[in-house]
Amino acid sequence: MKNHIMPSGIAAVLIPRLGEIFFIAIFIALIGLGPKLMNVDGDLGRHITLGNYIISSRSIPIRDVFSHNKLGDPLTPHEWLADVVFAIAHRAAGLDGIVWITALVIGVTFWLVYKNSKNLSSMSLLALAGTILAAAASSLHWLSRPHIFTILFTVIWTAELEKMRIGIRKNWVIFPVIMLIWVNTHGAFIAGILIWTCYFVGSILDQKFSWQGIKHSLGIGLSSLLVSLVNPDGFGIWKTGFGFIGNQYLVSHTAEYLPPDFHQISTWPFLLLIVISIGVLAISNKKMNASHILLISGWTALALYSARNIPLYAVIVVPILVTVGADYLQGNKLKVTSEKFIALQSRLMDIEKSLKGGLWSGIVVMVVGLLLMRGFTLDFQNNGNKFLDDVFPVKAVDWVEKNQLPGEGFNYFPWGGYLLYRIWPDKLVFIDGQTDFYGEELTRQYEQVITLSKGWEDVFKEYQINWVLMPAQSELIQHLQKRGDWHTVYRDQISTIMLLGSGE
């Protein structure tokens, strides 16, 4: 074998590692796609507003402060810590700050996926290919919302459990610490418990467990379960989570909980990952352990059940697939190709080890942050990071800010978060994206009104609705416009505001 000259000194600092290049690519791409991250749904507005409320009042609300129909009702603030992070970013740099923190979290997440895959497989190219596929599969749910923290925690949590499994980590104290932050950041911390279950059951099925191992594994599970109660709502966070998942009506009315539609191109990377998983099962030939098999099969089923689980599936499964794939290549089944590839990998890994890394990613993150704070527009469309006026009722709310709306109102569900962002606390909403709080009864009433189903006027009477802010083409607006007891006070192509009364 030839001796290669390895970078050293300043060269070792200046030459970026493969993973670093990948991180920068994802980070820059997300900065460029900034407006898309925040304009897919209206929940971001709620998160910023709640975060600001927590910072200003120095308290975490456990009763509703945003809606007029459930004001004061018990609330589970299961994303309060993420909301605070978003609010801090917003205070520092407005919506640019939100895009920056989102890009950073997602970039770090997939850098970690790459790093874990590389460490387990010792094949950086295979790890990179797998991580690109994981990123592509996950990208359908890359939004500026607290669930991005769950994707990050899933990567960290799984990597630590894997270290426990292979014996690199002996001490399990880190798990309750991660869970403590996770449970206060996003309601999908339950994913961590599911992943732990796969490892625990897998180790029993493999029959490789010592009593010491069982004690450690149970320690992780039980301490994490206990720590999950350390949140503003205690056990309520579990009840809210399962209450929502168990409610067929609410789940089927929440777009991200629906199963993936494989006629959409955005789901094809996920489909490809499933195909690769099956292929890996075929070639692994007795080498996979039960924990990995349970993780692959269980999370495939969960991701097929609900598209919002696809990112979690991708970051859990890819390091396993990469590791098994690398084992296979090292087994020399496809001899010529394997040897050449392994030789190339070996050289690359040697070079990577000699590099320091971290310089360029640090510089890029800092420079982008500073540029955004100085008001530069860095998105690909060069429009700046803002709520788009063809998605949200931007101009209508401008009008509301200048004119008083009397009493309580009825608003379009996807705009609720945006309204909170713009006009709360002056005005409270009828509904927003926090479906687990509003519950089935109110959501059904909302649906009853927008479809003009029997009894919809009673809902207006019950909540004393005086104004309506809905899409201009909605059935409700078209109907109210034909009636004499409502009148239009504002209208543009996106939205219409109508007030109760003839307007004369």
Binding site: V251, L258, P259, H263, G279, L281, A282, A290, I296, K333
Partner: protein
């Protein structure tokens, strides 16, 4: 009566259970136009290929790939009405699963459980339509290939008649071609990796299979539609509107409990293949991948996926349970005791008593199957179900009032109207390949009251609209000079002024 004591008893019970499951009230949105097309063929003694059921495609040639099943269906209907159609569905389903059961490994109870799981997955497509014939022929083809791989007996010549009959019964013969393709790919994969088992095909066998697969595909053109039969599968899949309009062409909705069983089958297969020590054979791998992909993109493909996957699942579960049993009996005394007790009990069973008990169970299931057939095809129930699913009263209203002009109808009810309201040709029905994106696109434009909806209706000189009453167009017709004609809890009829 040895069969009452042995494995055949389990098989008999299983097939009876499947029959009971599959015998249903035989009403389906597409069944009606198949009956009508079958009747046209029957009456004219000539395959029905030129459209007369619609006014939008009247006189155009239609690739009627299911003509032989339609003749069978109308024959059954004339002989035994809905009852014979229901029995046909039940028997076809049971025979399909029988061919799958034959190729499974393991204890009869395990095989039976897996077949039942697969049956539940497939049950979403068990209806009186030519599609069910494709499932039967698919299962037969799987069995022929299984015999070829496991017994070494070359009976591939059977593929020739299978494909000729299949392509005359339904356009789904292409599933057979895909199946052969998956086996060829799988065995080439194994050969390339050097993973050769006793059931692997050598290069000569692969060549033979490729030749017979090709011959089968060519012979699919032995059909009144000729070489158009090679085009029809691609033509049907190429209709974009299919995915938007027809549930069975959409991706699965795993929030529906019945469709969740597909997830159970997928999860079970992943887990058992991974956990068992047995190698995942190349042909199994390619079969699961190809038909899994198809099932995830269109739920109508649950059938082929379940038929392919069930034997794979049984094979790996058998291996897995056997290894677990060995490990547990070695390690834990209690399991050794249980196994000994089980063996002892089997010896001590009174064989006469067992025969009587088994005979009683079989008799009971036959009675239940018969009772269910009578119950689900009872005239009152048929009328009630028809009323729930289709615009029965609206059709009667049209027959009485006899308004003149072209009828614009619901897509879902098009087939029903071709059978029950023959005096009015339809705008569209379930023959998506005939209407294509052009007509279906126009239909959607009108139903959703999109821009130019009036132009579409004017172009086709539509005077009557019969639709589900919650469609957006119904809410605006009054404003555009249409007069309310009829309405009930699900249907609305409007007439042009």
């Amino acid at each position: 009566m040895t069969w009452l004591k042995e494995e055949k008893f389990y098989l008999t019970v299983l097939l009876l259970l499947i029959l009971i499951m599959a015998v249903r009230t035989p009403l389906d949105t597409d069944m009606w136009w198949h009956l009508r097309a079958g009747e046209e063929t029957w009456n004219s003694r000539e395959v029905y290929k030129v459209d007369t059921l619609s006014y939008t495609r009247a006189g155009e040639t239609w690739i009627n790939h299911s003509w032989l099943t339609q003749v069978l269906m109308i024959g059954l209907f004339k002989v035994g009405g809905f009852r014979s159609l229901s029995l046909w569905v039940g028997l076809t389903a049971a025979v399909s699963m029988f061919f799958i059961y034959l190729q499974m490994e393991g204890h009869a109870l395990l095989r039976g459980s897996v077949v039942l799981l697969a049956s539940f997955v497939i049950s979403v497509v068990w209806s009186p339509r030519p599609q069910i014939i494709s499932l039967l022929f698919f299962a037969i083809t799987v069995y022929v290939l299984f015999r070829f791989k496991t017994t070494g007996k070359n009976q591939l010549y059977c593929l020739a008649p299978i494909f000729i009959v299949w392509s005359n019964l339904h356009g789904g013969y292409i599933l057979g071609t895909l199946l052969i393709f998956s086996v060829i790919c799988g065995d080439i994969f194994d050969q390339l990796l050097g993973e050769i088992s006793e059931f692997s095909l050598d290069w000569k066998d692969i060549g033979q299979l490729a030749v017979w697969g090709f011959v089968g595909f060519i012979l699919a053109a032995v059909n009144p539609n000729g070489i158009n039969m090679w085009i029809i599968p691609f033509q049907t899949v190429g209709v974009v509107s299919l995915q938007n309009l027809i549930n069975e062409w959409a991706s699965p909705d795993f929030h529906q409990p019945i469709q969740q069983l597909m997830l159970v089958l997928l999860f079970g297969t992943f887990a058992s293949v991974g956990l068992s020590k047995r190698r995942f054979a190349g042909s199994d791998l390619f079969g699961v991948v190809i038909f899994g992909f198809m099932a995830l993109t269109a739920r109508r493909n649950f059938g082929p996926f379940a038929l392919i996957t069930a034997p794979v699942l049984a094979k790996h579960l058998t291996d897995l349970f056997s290894s677990w049993k060995n490990k547990l009996t070695k390690r834990w005394r209690i399991f050794r005791k249980v196994t000994e007790f089980q063996n002892q009990s089997e010896k001590n069973i009174n064989s006469k008593f067992q025969s009587l008990l088994n005979g009683g169970i079989v008799l009971f299931l036959i009675v239940v199957a018969f009772w269910k057939l009578i119950y689900v095809t009872d005239t009152d129930l048929i009328i009630k179900t028809e009323k729930q699913m289709f615009p029965q009263d609206a059709v009667n209203w049209l027959k009485e009032e006899k308004p003149s002009g072209h009828l614009f109808n619901s897509y879902n009810w098009g087939g029903y109207l071709t059978w029950n309201l023959q005096e009015y040709p339809v705008f569209v029905d379930g023959r998506t390949d005939l209407f294509g994106d052009e007509i279906i696109g126009d239909w959607m434009m009108v139903v959703n009251a999109e821009q130019n909806w009036q132009t579409v209706l004017d172009n086709w000189d539509v005077k009557i609209i019969l639709l589900e009453k919650d469609k957006p167009i119904i809410k605006v017709l009054n404003d555009f000079g249409w007069i309310f004609g009829y309405q009930d809890e699900k249907v609305a009829i409007y007439l042009k002024e």
